[in-house]
C-alpha cells in the first residue's frame, strides 16, 4: 500500500505570522505556527495529523491549500510546486484538492440553499450545463446519504451530522484527488461521528481519495489513518504508520498523549503518564526541543539543540534526543531512562 508514489510532498514548510507592535506596527517577532514541517502523502492513503490545540495542525492544512501563503518550503502536488503557482493556477489546482471543515455550520453560507452550495464548485470550475450540474448535485446528495429534496433547503435546517455530509459532498463535487479534512468530526456527537467516519471511509474506497485527516482525537485518528503524524508546537515530532505509532510510540510526547486519552473501559488499567504544565506559546517557543519544558526525560542537550525528525526504524521517524547521537552522548541520563521506560 505504501509503495504508491507520493501524491503530495511537503518539504520544509514554514508559516510564520508576524507580531506587530509599537507605533508603526513594526514586526517584533513571529508566531511560528508551522516550523519546518516535511512529510508526504501517498495516493489513496490517509495521513492523520494529530496534536493538541495550537500545535499548528490546522495551519498546516491551510498552508497546503495555499489559503495561507507559506513563509518558506515546498508543497509539491502531483509534481507541481504549489507555492510557485500564480493565483489563477492555484484556483485551477483546487479542483483537485478540496477541504472539509471543522464547523459544519460556519462553513456553509447561511443564505444559500444546499443546492446552490453544492453547485458552486461546479460553476467555478466550469462543470457543464445547468442541468448537468443539478443532476450531479442530486447524485452527490444521495451519495452522502441525503435526499434530492434537501437541495432546496438552507443550512440551518439541518442537524450537525447532515451539515457535515453536505460539507463532504461539496468537497467531492469536483472529483478531487486529495481531501484535507480539518477536524471534520470534532463538533459532532459520538453517534453521529461514527456515521461520518464511516461515510468518509466508504467514499475513499469508492473514489480512490487521498485524505489528510487533521484531528485532536487520537481514537478517531487511529481509526481512519494509515499513517499518523504527531505535531507539537509547529513541528512534527513523530510520524509513522498508525499501527506502529499506537503500539510503539517513541516520542515522550506521543507516549504522554496516548496515555492521557481516557479509554471507555473501566477494566483497562494503563500506566498513566501525566505531563505537567501547558503548551508554551508558539510566539516564544522554548529553545532546543520544544517539548523539553514538560518532558519527563529531559536531558541537558534538549534545551540546547533542536532534535531533527529522523528515521529511527523503517517508516518510523521521530524528533527526540533519546534517539539521536547528541542524546546518546548524554549517557548518564540515558542510563537512568533505561530503568524507567
Amino acid at each position: 500500500m505504501q509503495m504508491n508514489k507520493p501524491l503530495l510532498r511537503v518539504e520544509g514548510l514554514k508559516k510564520y505570522f508576524p507580531i506587530r507592535k509599537g507605533l508603526i506596527g513594526k514586526t517584533v517577532g513571529h508566531v511560528k505556527a508551522i516550523d519546518n514541517v516535511s512529510f508526504h502523502v501517498n495516493e489513496g492513503e490517509t495521513l492523520g495529523i494529530v496534536g493538541e490545540s495550537g500545535c499548528g495542525k490546522s495551519t498546516t492544512g491551510r498552508t497546503i491549500m495555499q489559503l495561507l501563503e507559506p513563509t518558506e518550503g515546498v508543497v509539491e502536488f502531483q509534481g507541481k510546486d504549489l507555492t510557485k503557482l500564480s493565483a489563477n493556477e492555484i484556483r485551477a489546482v483546487r479542483r483537485d484538492i478540496q477541504m472539509v471543515f471543522q464547523d459544519p455550520y460556519a462553513s456553509l453560507n447561511p443564505r444559500h440553499t444546499i443546492g446552490k452550495i453544492l453547485e458552486e464548485p461546479l460553476i467555478v470550475h466550469g462543470g457543464g450545463s445547468a442541468k448537468d450540474r443539478r443532476k450531479k448535485v442530486v447524485e452527490f446528495l444521495r451519495i452522502v446519504g441525503l435526499s434530492e429534496y434537501h437541495a432546496k433547503r438552507y443550512p440551518h435546517q439541518f442537524s450537525g451530522g447532515q451539515r457535515q455530509r453536505i460539507g463532504i459532498a461539496r468537497a467531492l463535487m469536483t472529483n478531487p484527488k486529495l481531501i484535507i479534512a480539518d477536524e471534520p468530526v470534532s463538533a459532532l456527537d459520538v453517534s453521529i461521528q461514527a456515521q461520518v467516519l464511516n461515510l468518509m471511509q466508504d467514499l475513499q474506497k469508492e473514489f480512490n481519495l487521498t485524505y489528510i485527516f487533521i484531528a485532536h482525537d487520537l481514537g478517531v485518528v487511529r481509526h481512519i489513518s494509515d499513517r499518523v503524524a504527531v505535531m507539537y508546537l509547529g513541528k512534527i515530532v513523530e510520524i509513522t504508520e498508525s499501527e506502529e505509532l499506537y503500539a510503539n510510540p517513541l516520542h515522550p510526547y506521543t507516549q504522554a498523549l496516548l496515555s492521557a486519552v481516557p479509554v471507555p473501559d473501566p477494566n483497562y488499567k494503563k500506566e498513566q503518564i501525566i505531563i505537567e504544565g501547558d503548551m508554551p506559546s508558539p510566539a516564544n517557543p522554548p529553545s532546543g526541543c520544544a517539548f523539553h519544558t514538560r518532558c519527563p526525560f529531559k536531558m541537558d542537550v534538549c534545551t540546547k539543540i533542536t532534535p531533527v525528525l529522523a528515521e529511527e526504524k523503517t517508516g518510523h521517524s521521530v524528533a527526540c534526543h533519546l534517539y539521536t547521537a547528541e542524546g546518546n552522548d548524554d549517557i548518564e541520563r540515558k542510563k537512568q531512562l533505561e530503568g524507567s521506560v
Binding site: A106, S107, P121, Q157, R170
Partner: protein
C-alpha cells in the same frame, strides 16, 4: 450557547417540509414582534399618507387665505390654520411625502456610496482601507449637524441640498458598518470554503460577502431613515432645509414657533407628525434588528 437552548436545527426532519429561507424566517420573526408590527403599521400609514393623502385633501395646500389666519382646529380645519390661513392638516399630509422622501433617498444615497467605499476598504484592505477609513474618521470627528450646516451653506439652502447634506454625513456610518461586516464575514469559514473551492475574489464578494452583510445594513438603514427625518427637520428648523412654500414639518415648526402661545396647534401637530414618523421607523428598525440580526447592538 449551552445545550438546553432549543436549537432550530433539529426541526428539519420532523416538521419542515416547506422551504424556509433566511428572509422568510426573518419575516416570521418580524411578525412575531409586537413592537415591530406597531412600527410597521405607523410607517405604512405614513407611506400611504404620502402616496394617497394628497389626493384626498383640499386643493391648494399653498393657497393663502389671509382672512382665515391662525384658526383653531375645527370641523373645517381639522388641525387649524397657519399664519397664511393654510390648512395645517393638508399641509402635514403633504409634508409626509417630503419627510419620507428625504429620509428614504438620503439613506439610499448614503448606503450606495457607503457600501461601495466600505466594501472596497474592507475587502481590499491595505492602503485603500487606510485612506478610506481615515476619511471616515475625519468625517465622523465633526459633529454631524455642524457638518450638515456647512454643506448646506456651500450648496445653498434647499430641500434637495439638505437631502444631499444628510446623505453625505451618513456615508461614513454605513461605510464603517459595511467595512466591519465585510471584515468579519471575510474571516467566516464559508468564505474560506469558497476560496478552497477556487472561487474568484469578485464572485466571493458578490455572492457571499454582500448578501450576508445586507441584514445589518437594512436594520441600520431603517434606523437611519428615522435620524435623517429628524436631521431634515432640524435643518428646516434652522431655515436651511426646505424652501417655501414646501410644507416640510421642521420648517412648519420654525414658521410657527412665534405662535406657540397664541396658536399652539401650529406647533403641536407638525411636532407630533415628526415624532410619530420617526418613532415608527425606530420601532420598525428595532423589530428588524431582532428578526434579521439578533446579535447587532444599538
Amino acid at each position: 450557547m449551552s445545550e438546553f437552548t432549543p436549537k432550530v436545527d433539529g426541526v428539519a426532519e420532523a416538521k419542515l417540509e416547506k422551504t424556509t429561507g433566511p428572509w422568510r424566517e426573518a419575516w416570521v420573526g418580524f411578525r412575531k414582534s409586537k413592537v415591530a408590527v406597531v412600527g410597521a403599521v405607523i410607517v405604512i400609514f405614513f407611506i400611504l399618507l404620502a402616496l394617497f393623502g394628497p389626493l384626498v385633501t383640499k386643493e391648494g395646500i399653498n393657497e393663502q387665505l389671509m382672512t382665515d389666519r391662525l384658526q383653531p382646529p375645527s370641523s373645517e380645519y381639522w388641525f387649524g390654520t397657519d399664519d397664511f390661513g393654510r390648512d395645517i392638516f393638508s399641509r402635514i399630509i403633504h409634508g409626509a411625502r417630503i419627510s419620507l422622501s428625504v429620509g428614504f433617498f438620503s439613506v439610499v444615497g448614503s448606503i450606495v456610496v457607503g457600501s461601495f467605499l466600505g466594501i472596497i476598504a474592507g475587502y481590499y484592505g491595505r492602503w485603500i482601507d487606510t485612506i478610506i477609513s481615515r476619511i471616515f474618521d475625519i468625517m465622523l470627528a465633526f459633529p454631524s449637524i455642524l457638518l450638515a450646516i456647512a454643506i448646506v451653506s456651500v450648496l445653498g439652502p434647499s430641500l434637495r441640498n439638505a437631502l444631499i447634506a444628510i446623505a453625505i454625513i451618513n456615508v461614513p456610518n454605513f461605510g464603517r458598518l459595511i467595512r466591519s461586516k465585510v471584515l468579519s464575514i471575510k474571516e467566516d469559514e464559508y468564505i474560506t470554503a469558497a476560496k478552497a473551492i477556487g472561487m474568484k475574489d469578485f464572485r466571493i464578494l458578490f455572492s457571499h460577502i454582500l448578501p450576508n452583510s445586507m441584514a445589518p445594513v437594512i436594520v441600520q438603514g431603517t434606523l437611519a431613515i428615522a435620524t435623517a427625518i429628524l436631521e431634515a427637520a432640524a435643518l428646516g428648523f434652522l431655515g436651511l432645509g426646505a424652501e417655501a412654500p414646501y410644507p416640510e414639518w421642521g420648517k412648519m415648526l420654525a414658521d410657527s414657533k412665534d405662535y406657540l402661545q397664541n396658536a399652539p396647534w401650529t406647533m403641536i401637530f407638525p411636532g407630533l407628525a415628526i415624532m410619530l414618523t420617526v418613532l415608527g421607523f425606530n420601532l420598525m428598525g428595532d423589530g428588524l434588528r431582532d428578526a434579521l440580526d439578533p446579535k447587532m447592538k444599538s
